[in-house]
Amino acid sequence: MKKYGWLGLIFVSALLLPLLVGEFWIHVAVEILILGLFAVSFNMIFGYMGQLSFGHAAYYGVGAYATGLLMVKTSVPLPICLAASMIFAGLCALILGYFCVRLTGIYFAILTLAFGQLTYYIIFQWYSFTGGDDGLQGIIPPDLLFSANAYYYFTLIIVTGALFVMWLISKSPFGYTMQAIRENEERTRFIGINVRRYMLINFVIAGMFAGLAGGLWGPFNRSIAPDLCNWQQSGIPVFMTVIGGPLSFLGPMVGSVIYTFLMAFVTGFTEYWPLTIGLVIIFVVLYVPGGVLGLIAERVKVFRSKALEPAPDEYSDTGRS
């Protein structure tokens, strides 16, 4: 457990955050957590399964609308709304994923994008049920969670729990099977794995957690709109994962911290946020292709190998100079 001590430190720091910063940055922190959860769920498909989903916002949006509709039209408690978000997003992922996992590579990406846009247009056009392009307003969290700090702690607990569950899955035989599929689909088939079925299960799990993230968004923002499902929203976890690093579990969360913090900071004094994030992405892709956590892992590896390297005079014993 020693090697995870730094995670405990981060969690304690997160608990202390409301004592250190103002309400604006607490809102930013909630956004970081929600979008980070969204990005980590996306990375279950991208980093662990090796397929790029360009329609992950569909499940985020379905989750947001499930909670939003239940809260606006009924008096269901928030935790049950969040569970419903996961279930509805998971069902949506099951139906759409059934078709998507039959393809791989660019065809998988295009099909997920198409289904994502399809979901967006359904929500956009179904005015009587979803509110159409007006969206849903008045998604008010319960009194207990009304303040920024309370909702922050609530989100922190939910997101930490969700991340823990996803981390367990990533280390489980199922998680390794997904990595095996990513590494060598053919070999995986020839050890007896029904690759499509496993990809679908993973797709549904990722969709459920995206739905949970979406469910958290509505009460935080007090309203939701169809834009939560569109392709631009699907691009956010892609950017976050690329920035943070797709090959480490927390890479997308680190990406969320950088992306969301930068957005909050930059939009404070310029409207050229897309230009800024564009430059960041170009820089990362060109110079830090493994993302921030990938770079750190690489540096640590180099540092450790140097520390283990024998001193020059030790080489002389083996005939090296």
Partner: protein, 261 residues
């Protein structure tokens, strides 16, 4: 081996694999042309030999569901498995190693073998138990048998070509097959590695009762280890029998072995 019957009773005595009138055409090329073939349970290394392009790998691909069969049938333990998907065929008890080593290059040697074992044990749908707590003994044992223990924590992609082939053999064994197909198991190996690998194959057959069918270009391996040979040429079986008979066959000498054989 006879006690390890699974997947239903073998209705045809000791026949583990029966191939009937198997045909496969790619474009206008007949890659497999009306091949008939039987393997007995526990048979040692009936080798399929033939020049490049003879259809050896295609034959394996048809038997293991990699390619769809045009016509003909494949029976394993009396069960018709023609055109079954690879994962179902593997679960029934047929494993294979490919001509070009087919492993998980970014996982460690240990993780490569463990994945096959966990799959065989039907534990891949476990979500909340860390994989590193499972199948430890079985994985270490298989690494030991395969001579890969010292590379357990090595990332598989940096192993030598010979060790990669051995790792793939270990992965195949992790599926606990009854029938094992090895496509050129010693390709790219040094003389010593070849000897060690083929001795392992021999032990798997003799001590564990595994039925093994392999293709090979190295004639010293073929004649040193196979009890029965099948010679393919342009997708057709041109000779079949014990090594001495095949060696003496004029057509085999003409198309493959050469006069010096």
């Amino acid at each position: 081996m006879n006690t390890r019957i699974r997947g239903g009773l073998d209705m045809e005595g000791n026949v583990i694999l029966r191939v009937q009138n198997l045909c496969k055409t790619f474009g206008g090329v007949k890659a497999t042309n009306n091949v008939n073939f039987e393997m007995m349970r526990g048979e040692l290394s009936a080798a399929i030999i033939g020049p490049n392009g003879a259809g050896k790998s295609t034959f394996f691909n048809l038997l293991t569901g990699y390619h769809a069969v045009d016509s003909g049938e494949v029976f394993f333990l009396g069960k018709n498995i023609t055109n079954w998907p690879p994962h179902k065929i593997t679960r029934l008890g047929i494993a294979r190693a490919f001509q070009v080593s087919n492993i998980y290059p970014k996982l460690t040697t240990y993780e490569n073998v463990r994945q096959a074992i966990l799959t065989q044990q039907k534990r891949t749908l476990i979500f909340f138990t860390p994989a590193n707590r499972l199948a430890k003994e079985e994985t270490l044992e298989l690494l030991e048998i395969s001579g890969l223990s010292r590379y357990a924590n090595t990332v598989a992609g940096i192993l030598s070509q010979g060790d990669k082939k051995r790792l793939e053999l270990a992965i195949a064994l992790g599926s606990k097959p009854e029938l094992l197909f090895l496509d050129e198991p010693t390709a790219g190996m040094s003389g010593e590695e070849t000897y060690e690998t083929m001795e392992l194959v021999k032990r798997l057959n003799q001590e564990m009762g595994l039925t093994i069918l392999f293709t090979e270009h190295d004639m010293s391996v073929v004649f040193g280890y196979a009890r029965r040979l099948i010679v393919l040429h342009q997708g057709t079986v041109i000779a079949e029998g014990i090594p001495e008979e095949v060696r003496a066959n004029e057509e085999v000498q003409r198309v493959y072995l050469g006069e010096e054989a």
